[in-house]
């Protein structure tokens, strides 16, 4: 149901050419156009749950200021991979890891690293919107400051609040009710609130784990617009099972696959290329809808 009369993608059999049209229409971003620090690089990442190898030898270099989509059928390790990038994978008691993840050329898994600082620089938006119910909208946005115990003077906090909500595309809708309860918003608004919340701690990189899969198409498009705008000032990595979304939103696409075994990176490249002329047959099979 879409109240705003925006265009919705019709459900037709996806053919590479139509996806390619979307991808091409977006215009491919050249790497390095955004003024940013260095990007994120994963080298030889392996991830286990107990004895079970879930992710095998993934190496990806994410260029600054780009949006990279991670696609692939469910269960192929995309979510596991993205959680190794901000050290959330280790919360699972049986988790084990090998490889390196480099931020500013420093391995984030090094023992001298303050993991909570890493998570400030590499933010995350989750699949299900999860604002803190015990806080108001305003408090939710600034909650990262409290949680990470950052020293930001009160005077700056109001500006930060407004700035984050504007960038998340939510300011106009909530500017008059910043004291309202965090849970009083619709699903799409809550997710944008969560995006604003992640922005408040000024991350260089934003990880998004299927951020729109729990939302209706109208909210989804709104968030995709937000992603496009945000990508000018940060690097975004988005996991999505929706190929059209990947085509709409990303500059680069990485295709993951697991054929019963551990998940692996099959192919990565500029989005338009992945959807028009993929190099690997498996990629072609997936994007043309032959499986998945």
């Amino acid at each position: 149901m879409n109240n705003e009369g925006e265009e919705m993608e019709t459900r037709e059999k996806t053919t590479p050419s139509s996806l390619a049209n979307v991808a091409n229409a977006r215009g491919q971003k050249k790497p390095g156009t955004a003024p940013l620090g260095s990007g994120l690089e994963a080298r030889g990442v392996h991830a286990w749950f107990g004895k079970h190898l879930a992710l095998k030898n993934v190496s990806l270099d994410f260029s600054s200021g780009t949006v990279t989509a991670l696609i692939g059928p469910s269960g192929c390790g995309k979510s596991t991979f993205i959680r190794t990038l901000n050290r959330m994978h280790e919360f699972i008691p049986s988790a084990a890891f090998a490889g390196e993840v480099l931020l500013d050329n420093k391995d984030i898994y090094d023992s001298s690293v303050d993991v909570t600082k890493i998570r400030l620089q590499i933010g995350m938006v989750f699949q299900k919107p999860n604002p803190f119910p015990s806080m108001t909208i305003g408090e939710n946005v600034l909650s990262g400051i409290k949680l990470a115990q950052l020293n930001i003077p009160k005077s700056e906090q109001d500006d930060l609040l407004e700035d984050c909500l504007i960038r998340a595309g939510l300011w106009n809708e909530v500017k008059d009710r910043l004291d309202a309860h965090g849970g009083s918003l619709s699903g799409g608004q809550q997710q944008r609130l969560c995006i604003a919340r992640s922005l408040a701690v000024k991350p260089k990189i934003l990880l998004m784990d299927e951020p729109c899969s729990a939302l209706d198409p109208g909210s989804t498009l709104r968030i995709e617009e937000t992603i496009s705008q945000l990508s000018s000032s940060m690097t975004i990595i988005i996991v999505t099972h929706n190929m059209q979304q990947a085509a709409r939103v990303s500059d680069y696409t990485a295709f993951f696959l697991s054929d019963g075994g551990p998940g692996e990176l099959v192919e990565v490249g500029p989005t338009s290329q992945i959807f028009t002329k993929p190099r690997d047959q498996r990629t072609e099979n997936y994007v043309s809808g032959r499986f998945g």
Binding site: G44, H46, W48, L53, K56, N57, R87, E90, A95, A96, F97, A98, G99, Y109, D110, S111, D114, V115, T116, K117, A148, Q149, D280, Q281, R282
Partner: protein, 353 residues
Amino acid sequence: MTLIQNQIEIPTPSKPWVKTPLQRVPSIAVGIAALALAGAIVEATPLKGKLGFFLVFVPLITVLQYLLARIRATRKAAQDIFVASFMWTASFLVFLPTASILATTVTKGLEGLRLSIFTNTMAAASYTDPIEMGGLLHALVGTIYLILLSVIISVPLGILTALYLTEIKGPGSAFIQFIVQAMSGVPSVIAGLFVFSAVILATPLEASSLMGAFALAILMVPTVTRTSQEVLVLIPNDLREAGLALGATQWKTVALVVVPAAKSGLITAIILGVARIAGETAPLLFVLGGTDALNSNPFSGFNSGLPLYIWKGFLIGLPESVQRAWTGILVLLILVLILFTAARVFGPKKGRF
């Protein structure tokens, strides 16, 4: 077109976020230093004894570990260490009395533990006689009677109530649920007073094991009901539907499908109920009467129970009687622990937490 698989060697899994033993060395060293320092401070100052040591050691190790974390890591990590100290102290305060109680019971009770106490009663001996004379047979038998009769009274009531709440879910369910919850809060002394007031005063019946069982049943039913409920709720609905689909009536489904499936859990519920009431003392003071000889009739005449035996030993207060009390408590504790272990072993394998 087949792609050549990259033949790479899979590295060994590791957990870079876990502290290696080498990394733990500084905090262990700090811990030992704190112990030594606290000992030295206690020696040098008027603070004395275990309490003194405790009061010095805990703040000392907290501060030292905090400083260590601050220097080696960040303020946020140090904050976590600081908070954790409080939690460890609290946990220690939980552990200490339990260990003390267990140790005391065993050490004090063991002295009097001998075969003779299980074969003699206090009919011929007095509480102030040395422990070689007399025994707790009458109390043990009394407790067994209480357990048996309580089970007979409360198990049907408890399980049927649980069935009402889970299988029939009638209109009064929420209310009955609340009633059961309220019953579990009734103090044991009240249960005893009630049976006294409602039965002993009002009818020609007098104190006996049966009366005790009535009082204990009031305490046991809520436990049995609640545990049975937890078990019955876990039985998947598919089983019930399968029974009904085969044409069985509801009561047949419940009796022949649901209850057998929940059997082990229901037995656990009963055992837990028994463990709860085996050690209750207060109700017995009002409705049992107390006796020093073995009364093998649970339905008539004053009777006894382990808690009463213990209680009397304590009240008399002389060393021999207190010894009897401790030995009695040891026997009672062993009984309760056997019951709890049995419940764990025979119970459903779901972990409670």
